[in-house]
């Protein structure tokens, strides 16, 4: 059992191991991933999936924005109002509280009163309940369809065209079952914006 009496230089071992792994895991590894991902043609994603128009960055495909004009599709309720200098996250108030009830009721009634929808229409829960991140770029297909009458009214575009546009930016579950069915409202509104500018509806 001479092995058991072997003296191990613990301090040196710990110091060397910590510094080597600090360099390897903290810097070499992220750097390697960055270099390779740009090298194999993933630069668009690696830089944040940015959408540019005339050389100016106008959005990221994945970061929700607050489209509030009535001729756009509106996004989900956000705890930070899509302002990234406020940080990110969900809302504070629990779903079994009176305050949540009041806020949800008021927004539901607002959506119905501005929606140009027939009496007795129900608002999809996705449209009135806040997102988890505050930057959800997507809405459910149901909430997009709920907004069609309002968008049609204010954009002076016909419903068929708008339905096609919604369909174009809808993602269905992968392999038929992974994920939900949702509409990317950032891409949808940018496309809509292009049409409205082309028609001269907005400048």
């Amino acid at each position: 059992m001479s092995d058991r009496e072997e003296r191990v230089p613990h301090l040196r071992a710990v110091a060397v191991m910590s510094i080597v792994f600090f360099a390897l895991l903290g810097f070499a590894y992220p750097g390697f991933v960055a270099v390779v991902s740009h090298g194999i043609g993933l630069g668009y994603q690696a830089n944040g999936s940015l959408i540019s128009q005339n050389g100016t960055v106008i959005a990221s495909k994945f970061i929700g924005e607050n489209f509030s004009a009535p001729y756009y599709f509106w996004p989900r309720v956000s705890s930070v109002n899509y302002n990234s200098s406020n940080g990110s996250g969900g809302e504070a108030i629990g779903i079994m509280t009176q305050q949540f009830y009041n806020e949800t009721r008021n927004y539901t009634l607002y959506l119905l009163s501005t929606g140009h929808v027939p009496n007795g229409t129900y608002v999809p829960g996705n449209g009135v309940e806040p997102s988890g991140s505050g930057f959800d770029p997507d809405i459910s297909l149901g909430f997009a369809r709920f907004q069609l009458p309002r968008v049609a009214y204010y954009s002076h575009l016909n419903l068929t065209l708008l339905e096609k546009l919604v369909e174009k930016y809808t993602t269905y579950p992968y392999l038929g079952f992974i994920g939900s069915t949702y509409v990317n409202v950032v891409q949808l509104d940018i496309a809509l914006h292009g049409i409205l500018v082309g028609n001269g509806t907005i400048s």
Partner: protein
């Protein structure tokens, strides 16, 4: 719940079991020192490192030396991370020019990531430089996972060995990183970039949006952090919203990859255990028990989230999909709920939901997972907890049938029992005592949340800290009580990590010095299917006895009372 959501749940569970099995067997083989084709590539690098460290990787350590190496390494890692955070303002790779954090927050953050907890009381995109996100956060995510895993491996060796040794800490730690964590993370990070997670050193970009003026889009080396965040059951996000944030989890595919990854080491190590003790049947039994506990928790949460919110009944809202609050549109409600439960039962703590807006019943189920800690628990620490449960269950069932309690052929000695009971008692003490102190001192009432939610958030906070989970409610901390919570949580996280690990290594040391009984005298309790049922109920009853009263005051009251 729709049929498609059942398909999602079933698919995730099956893939998790298959991936864990193969990863677990692979890990079992490397810890046994079996040859593999990877030796040709990694061998020279590892040997070079051992030479630089001045150690002999074949030197076997007893439990005290293993513990000493473990604690010294953790001290060094913690100091490096603290220094990186402390000097963040003067260090490079800070394109957004973020300032320094308060020193207490630096300390709490270093403690949080060192202990694999990943509780975060900063907003990553606003308050950390890229240097800190990599040199403190990503770095500790690897090392804390490796440290947890090697403790589990040492425990398994304690069960197998008969000469008092547990292996070589430095070798175990090194090969865990070079052969498991790093290669998988590299591949996974590249897949994440492909799916839309950023990986850049450029600073934030200002988007000139079409309808809301300027919007700052924060970027950074996110994908490399995400990969190890899940593989190592860490859970601390690059952004404040963690895995709900679209840049951390852009599509359902990234979500599935993350969920499968975070479960693969906790479940995998149970298969490694079966492989290393040459009793795969035992591993299947333990996986069945832990998966059973997880599925019970999942069923409760799915019940709570997929139904309509009774409070909103009567409003013209279509609630067919369930509770959308706190969830992202790209994931189904069931997938989001699965993520909450898996993230608390594996101690990862990066759910893709906002906890404040989950149903209180789901929150109770999530907390139960953090109270049990072994279903399947965090990377390494989960198996450690599970083995202690097995020791206690074997002891009690042995007493019930009046035979000598034995663990895989070894008599359970007084020493093992003593350490196991202390081990089990630590968890409730470091949760309940700080909760009581916070309430009595009035610091908890400084929160801006309504009273019942504030108590639930408080209980959740310390449960998460003690279990080294890291998920948390938002808005519990306010300016007046932040320092109190940072100090208390640091103590809880460090105790919750290092005290049980010390005891686990002591248990391993005692078992490693125990000679197995001869077959005639032993009673193979553990191979009986009845034992699986007993263990399942034992874990539930033990945790319920310890925690049901506080759960009733917090989330259960919130669920019943509204």
């Amino acid at each position: 719940m729709e049929f498609i959501e059942f398909a999602q749940m079933a698919f995730l569970v099956v893939v998790i079991l298959v991936v864990s099995y193969y990863l677990g067997i692979y890990m079992g083989r490397i810890y046994l020192g079996k040859r593999s084709f990877l030796d040709r590539y990694f061998g020279p690098l590892e040997n070079g490192l051992y030479r630089l460290m001045g150690i002999n990787p074949r030197h076997e350590m007893d439990w005290k030396e293993y513990l000493k190496a473990f604690l010294l390494t953790n001290a060094a890692l913690g100091i490096i991370a603290f220094l990186v955070l402390f000097f963040q303002q003067s260090l490079p790779l800070n394109p957004d020019h973020v300032g320094s954090l308060p020193p207490l927050l630096d300390f709490a953050t270093a403690a949080s990531f060192l202990t694999n907890t990943n509780l975060q009381h900063y907003t990553g995109e606003l308050q950390l430089s890229y240097f800190s996100q990599m040199g403190a956060i990503t770095f500790l995510m690897f090392t804390s996972a490796a440290a947890g895993i090697v403790v589990a491996v040492a425990m398994i060796r304690g069960i197998v060995n008969q000469n008092g040794t547990l292996g070589n800490f430095y070798r175990d730690f090194t090969i865990t990183i070079t052969r498991v964590l790093l290669p998988i993370s590299i591949v996974e990070a590249l897949i994440f970039v492909y799916l839309g997670i950023p990986q850049t050193y450029q600073g934030a970009v200002v988007a000139h949006t079409i309808n809301m003026g300027a919007q700052t889009i924060f970027r950074g080396p996110v994908a490399s952090l995400e990969a190890i965040k899940f593989l190592g059951t860490n859970g601390g996000g690059f952004y404040g919203a963690d895995s709900a944030y679209p840049f951390e989890n852009p599509t359902a595919l990234s979500a599935y990859l993350q969920l499968i990854t975070e479960a693969s080491i906790p479940f995998g190590l149970i298969f490694s255990y079966g492989h290393m003790v040459r009793n795969p049947r035992q591993a299947r039994m333990l996986v069945t028990v832990t998966m059973g506990l997880f599925l019970v928790g999942l069923a409760i949460a799915l019940f709570a989230e997929s139904g309509p919110n009774a409070l909103l009944h009567g409003l013209p809202i279509n609630q067919v999909a369930g509770n959308w609050a706190g969830k992202e549109s790209r994931f189904s409600v069931a997938e989001s709920t699965f993520s909450l439960i898996l993230n608390t039962y594996t101690q990862t703590g990066a759910p893709m939901v906002a906890l404040n807006q989950m149903s209180p019943l789901s929150v109770a189920s999530a907390m139960f997972g953090m109270e049990v800690q072994g279903s399947p628990g965090g990377a390494g620490t989960g198996l450690m907890n599970l083995l202690v449960y097995v020791v206690l269950a074997v002891f009690i069932s042995g007493l019930m049938v009046g035979r000598t309690p034995e663990f895989l052929g070894k008599k359970i000695s007084t020493g093992v029992m003593k350490y196991s009971v202390i081990f089990i008692m630590i968890h409730p003490i470091i949760i309940l005592a700080p909760v009581a102190i916070s309430v009595m001192s009035g610091f908890a009432s400084l929160s801006s949340l309504p009273p019942n939610e504030a108590f639930t958030a408080l209980l959740y906070e310390f449960t998460s800290a003690a279990a080294n989970n890291g998920s948390s409610f938002g808005y519990l901390l306010t300016q007046q009580n932040t320092s109190f919570f940072l100090a208390m949580e640091s103590i809880v996280m460090l105790t919750g990590r290092f005290a049980p690990i010390t005891l686990a290594l002591a248990i391993a040391g005692v078992m490693s010095s125990t000679k197995p009984l001869t077959q005639t005298k032993s009673l193979a309790v553990m191979d009986d299917p009845i034992f699986a049922v007993f263990l399942f109920l034992f874990i539930i009853v033990l945790s319920a006895l310890l925690f049901l009263p506080v759960l009733a005051l917090g989330p259960l009251a919130g669920y019943l009372g509204g």
